[in-house]
């Protein structure tokens, strides 16, 4: 039964990947864009090349990039490459390959997103649960309005505000980049400390803005759960307040909360991209930003596909974990 459920989800995952790859392939071509030609023309203008040589150069690059073959062959080659996670050369940073550039940026983004999501989800969920508990200390009620307000503000906006307040005015934390300019990446304590110092502001922007949302959601789920028949019966059983809170309320409210996490991953990532851009944090977001500026289509496509792949995997993992939390799902096909 569980294998059945997982197989279906995996199938959908592959379908999404295929759709993404196909979209990536056809959309630019539909609008008649030829990224290579464009780039070469741009270069030519900058460098003052002679126009006559251009056609020959374009032809050569077309051949190199495989753009002179019939469309269906290009498509198949493309799919084949994508399956091996080979995204071709980066147009803007030729001769570096897209994979190389992405591979450099991924650890930054993964660590930033991973840690901030974990923090904001945990803190938010616990906070939300406490807010719904009648026995919680009164002063916690006053946390609601600021949490609400922060929840409404997009991540990058919080980032900008933080940047001004903390970095510019007070100079507590560095404003920009992943590490100080000129620092040599090494596994020394000094470098790690530097990296952490640079990550604090981007991380805080995301955590501050996201925690409120999770807290509100959890509080909502808890209120709903508290009205359920089994909670009333639990009270009639004379269970201790703590037992009811933990084993009957939270344990049930956490289920829709986890589903919400799986659904929110895409949004969280979108928010994080803008935060990275603002702080110049060397993750996928900044690389994407630069790629857009340079019109580097291969890099853009590579990034988009990688992200969809990563998020799809994360969602799949969460989907696999869910039956462990909710016994009703495992036995659905019994």
């Amino acid at each position: 039964m569980r294998a059945d459920y997982l197989a279906k989800r995996f199938g959908v995952f592959l379908l999404i990947l295929w759709l993404a790859a196909t979209l990536n392939f056809f959309l630019p071509r539909l609008s008649g864009m030829d990224p290579v030609r464009q780039k070469l023309l741009a270069q030519a203008q900058l460098g003052g090349y002679v126009q006559t040589g251009i056609e020959a150069m374009v032809k050569e690059y077309d051949h190199r990039f495989g753009l002179d073959k019939p469309l269906w062959r290009q498509y198949l080659t493309y799919l084949h490459d994508v399956a091996r996670l080979d995204f071709n050369y980066s147009i803007a940073n030729y001769p570096r390959r897209v994979n190389e550039i992405i591979a450099e940026a991924i650890p930054w983004t993964v660590s930033l997103l991973g840690i901030t999501t974990l923090l904001s989800f945990s803190i938010g969920t616990i906070l939300g649960a406490l807010l719904a508990w009648p026995r919680a200390p009164r002063w916690m009620r006053y946390l609601m309005p600021p949490l609400w307000a922060l929840h409404a503000i997009p991540f990058f906006l919080v980032g900008l505000i933080l940047m001004y307040l903390v970095s510019f005015q007070v100079r507590w934390f560095p404003m920009f980049g992943g590490y100080s300019a000129g620092a040599f990446p090494a596994l020394t304590l000094e470098f790690v400390g530097d990296v952490i110092a640079h990550s604090i502001l981007p991380a805080m922007s995301i955590v501050l803005a996201a925690t409120g949302g999770w807290a509100l959601a959890m509080r909502g789920m808890m209120v709903t759960t508290q009205g359920e028949d089994y909670v009333i019966f639990a009270e009639a059983k004379g269970l201790k307040s703590l037992t009811i809170f933990l084993r009957y309320c939270i344990r049930n409210a956490i289920l829709p909360q986890t589903t919400a996490l799986a659904l929110a991953l895409g949004q969280i990532f979108s928010g994080a991209v803008l935060v990275e851009v603002i702080f110049g944090y060397p993750g996928i977001g900044t690389v994407l930003f630069l790629a857009i500026r340079e019109n580097d289509h291969f890099l853009i496509q590579g990034i988009v596909f990688t992200v969809i792949l990563a998020l799809g995997l994360a969602t799949l993992i969460l989907d696999a974990i869910y039956p462990l939390l909710d016994p009703r799902i495992t036995y659905r096909r019994a």
Partner: protein, 319 residues
């Protein structure tokens, strides 16, 4: 004469809404003897479930227990602290919830849901002892031992209710309040559940308050029957007498509406509608629909009076 196990005096529960106070229960008084079965019937909104919750002090805002005493073994439950009341629940007064699908925690196994009640009431047992106790309890309600490791969604409606009964008797309470325990079950299962309830009650020597809206079903089970209308207890008599010699006009009309297998005829109802609990008529709450109402009924609220030995009704016609 058996002693009184539970005595309710003047219980009053109001729900405070922005549109006014909803008088869900007004001046309820009755007694429950040891090993006695008392039924409480009434239409939806007559205050039956409110009463059950009130006895257990489980009324939540905007509802509030405005007044009243509930004497259990010589102690007024209304004066107990929160913690003391918590200990009373299940151990001395147990509730069997409505026969809806949802009274068991969907993510906990049955065994765990019986065990946590034991644990939170201070019963110290080893794991093996708990398992044995659970098995015995399940057996006493007619469930197989395998049920212990199952989740609620794996059980049928009747099985779930019987599991709830098992939980309710786990600490051998003196009083069991069954609030519409068979309302969402089909007829065959209803009978099974009621038989189970009867059996465990006899074995425990406990008293039962059975709350319901199906007069026929409740009557088959109980020794005495109480009739509720608009938040008040209008009649309390031995069950036979309620059907053969009803004292209160509402009871008389109710019985007339019950379809009979022997006689054929058209369905009769009671003309009019029950009043809004927020907006009760002055005097006797039933007087607008009562065919025997006199002037006094419109102004003075009737109280329970003994019309016959051990038969009480709240009606001016008795005096």
């Amino acid at each position: 004469m058996k002693p009184d196990v539970l005595r309710v005096r003047g219980l009053q529960v109001y729900y405070h809404t922005p549109l006014g106070a909803v008088k869900a229960a007004e001046d309820i008084s009755f007694s429950l003897k040891a090993e006695e079965r008392l039924g409480l019937v009434g239409e939806s909104g007559s205050g039956k479930s409110t009463l059950a919750l009130a006895i257990l002090r489980m009324i939540k805002p905007p509802g509030r227990i405005e007044a009243g005493e509930v004497w259990l073994d010589g102690q007024n439950v209304m004066t107990l602290s929160e913690e003391e009341m918590r200990q009373v629940r299940l151990a001395r007064i147990a509730m069997i919830p409505q026969g809806s699908m949802n009274s068991l925690n969907p993510v906990m196994r049955i065994q765990a849901q019986i065990a946590d009640a034991l644990r939170d009431h201070g019963v110290r047992m080893t794991k093996r002892q708990v398992e044995e106790r659970v098995r015995d309890l399940l057996q006493s309600v007619g469930l197989k031992p395998e049920v212990a490791t199952m989740f609620p969604h794996e059980l049928s409606g009747g099985m779930k209710q019987r599991a709830c009964i098992a939980i309710a008797i786990s600490l051998r309470p003196k009083v069991i309040i069954a609030d519409e325990p068979t309302s969402a079950l089909d007829v065959v299962v209803q009978k099974q559940v009621m038989e189970t309830l009867a059996r465990v009650q006899r074995a425990l020597g406990a008293s039962v308050i059975l709350v319901g809206h199906d007069m026929g079903l409740v009557a088959q089970f109980v020794d005495r029957l109480g009739v509720m209308y608009a938040g008040k207890l209008v009649e309390v008599s031995p069950v036979r007498d309620v059907f053969t010699k009803p004292l209160h006009p509402y009871t008389t009309l109710l019985i007339a509406t019950l379809p009979s297998l022997e006689q054929k005829g058209t369905f009769a109802g009671i003309p009019g509608l029950p009043p809004l609990l927020r907006d009760l008529p002055p005097g006797c709450a039933f007087h607008p629909r009562c065919p025997y109402a006199v002037d006094r009924c419109r102004t003075e609220v009737p109280h329970l009076m003994e019309g016959r030995p051990d038969s009480w009704a709240a009606c001016h016609l008795l005096s």
